[in-house]
Symmetry: C2
Subunit: 329 residues, 2 copies
């Protein structure tokens, strides 16, 4: 049995829009037949979803088929709402966290949760963390790979990371609204396939060069999509760090830091999964799927098969690493 750390929820409904929110960015659900619903962002059709997004019974049926004993729920990233005013963001956060809490309550042995905070205001976000464990039974926070264009390693977010560390809440960094869209060539909708791995890698690099490991030694930090491009640049960054004294004076060994972070296995290729285990360590990689979305990876636990892992390593990547990341060890 395995734990899927990267899977998303959308609440079945949203609260009324706060009076100070821009109506163009507040979501609501347009429910349709066959347990489907269109997530509307303002008047824009954002994504057609179904009850896998909000129904714990439906999810548990799928989990049984997938050989999962636990899913770690996190918000569909578009709900993170950093682009709202902070008060509207707080309303959204509490609503989504509350919806996740109810799903966890329905089956506390089958679900854990990574909630959300209005990180457009790091002070407010940090304050909100005190409610995570007690009120909602959440194990950590999902944050974007950038927050309104700022990388997570930016000192701007210090108060948030300090509080997450103090409270023993995990932080899972998920791809969100990447830059460099003008560099894509070809048909629309390439963004998640080309720029998501880029943005997660930018976030992970910022955590390294921003010295988060030294600043928050007990912080548990994980990255979606196998850390994206990090595996393609970490050795180059390490070489630069070794050869350039100003870099070595500013932050610790990139490779050592990278080997304390966690990474899911949503990378669509077994050899790349093996490479991630080689680079980051068999104690740092866990199962993820992007369930229930179309861009997700089917049969994620099996991505660890046939790549030469020992039984002990297999137990780590399937379950133990996830529990350690979540602080549920």
């Amino acid at each position: 049995m395995a734990i899927d750390v990267h899977c998303h929820i959308v609440p079945a409904d949203f609260p009324d829009m706060p009076c100070n929110c821009d109506p163009g960015i507040w979501p609501h659900m347009d429910h349709r037949p066959k347990d489907e619903a269109m997530v509307m962002i303002g008047k824009r059709e954002f994504r057609l979803v179904d009850n896998r997004c909000w129904d714990p019974q439906r999810r548990m049926k799928d989990m049984d088929e997938q050989g999962l004993d636990m899913q770690v729920l996190s918000p569909m990233p578009e709900l993170l709402s950093y682009w709202m005013d902070k008060d509207s963001g707080l309303v959204m956060s509490r609503h989504v966290n509350g919806a996740m809490a109810k799903m966890i309550e329905a089956a506390p042995k089958r679900f854990a949760g990574l909630g959300m905070v209005p990180l457009q205001d790091p002070e407010l976000a940090a304050k909100e963390l005190s409610r995570f464990k007690g009120e909602w039974g959440l194990s950590g926070i999902e944050i974007g790979s950038n927050i309104l264009g700022k990388s997570p390693g930016d000192p701007h977010f210090a108060v948030f990371f300090a509080e997450a560390e103090r409270l023993g809440l995990s932080v899972f960094v998920h791809a969100l609204h990447p830059p460099a869209k003008d560099r894509l060539v070809g048909p629309p909708r390439l963004e998640p396939f080309v720029l998501f791995p880029m943005d997660v890698g930018l976030a992970a690099a910022s955590a390294i060069t921003g010295g988060l490991r030294a600043k928050y030694p007990k912080l548990r930090l994980g990255f979606s999509h196998g850390g994206g491009m990090l595996a393609s640049l970490i050795h180059r960054l390490q070489n630069g760090w070794v050869k350039n004294k100003p870099l070595a004076e500013a932050f610790g060994s990139p490779m050592e830091a990278a080997r304390t972070f966690y990474y899911d296995n949503v990378v669509f290729d077994r050899r790349l999964v093996r490479h991630l285990v080689d680079v980051f360590g068999s104690t740092q990689v866990f199962v993820g799927s992007d369930y229930p979305f179309a861009a997700g990876q089917d049969d994620s636990p099996a991505m660890f098969d046939g790549i030469g892992l020992s039984e002990a390593e297999k137990a780590d990547v399937l379950r133990n690493n996830a529990l350690r990341f979540l602080g549920l060890g």
Copy 2:
């Protein structure tokens, strides 16, 4: 013996600035004792270099020590000068190509060359290609991973790629002036370590999603720094292509295209070199070093040692792939 496809030159001197050029961007050499020179860009000290950049005798001595029988020369990327008016760019191109031609002439069996063109004007760049083989003895062109912010796969450059294909000139894409600098956190000078692999990957992705393989079936296209982040995103892009009909209708299989491109091994880790060979094929990876610059990789041929390559594969990655890429097979 091996062929190093990624190593740079700087001419010993530059011509007088054309009268229509911005004086802030025209380079000159400030020669100093001990065969050193400061490359000045306008009044700015850009980089301290030495006679390894321009002296073929000095280079051949190093090549003998490194076990290289051939270096493939290319301009220091900052000389590509896309940010100049096109006429000044043309003056610079001809000067640099001429300097490379002289180095090649000094030892035609030890040097080949990838010249430059003023790609800020694709028509002008395409026209200039007719001089490459006959006048300068060059085998191809080094281009930037972006040209004034446009990815190489953009149809804007069609006339250039068509002409390079027609003339049998190789195209080597090198990291240059990446975007997303505002996403770096920490000390200055992180750009080459974090953003170069990103930008080369953006360029390679654009070649795939822009359909360059189908448009120019005989074009030989190579990427610096192991293709940068491409190895971290190609499987995700492939998965998106398989699952999304509009993508499959717009361009061919990403994995198949990626396995027709070439990649150097400037990635600073043997396991990553092995991973590149696994992903892209043992016929598509060759030696590169970034010689003679500080960010370069020492002992690049040895990066293919101890990674389980057969003798035939070893001959390919050390020599044959480079010769095939250059059209010198």
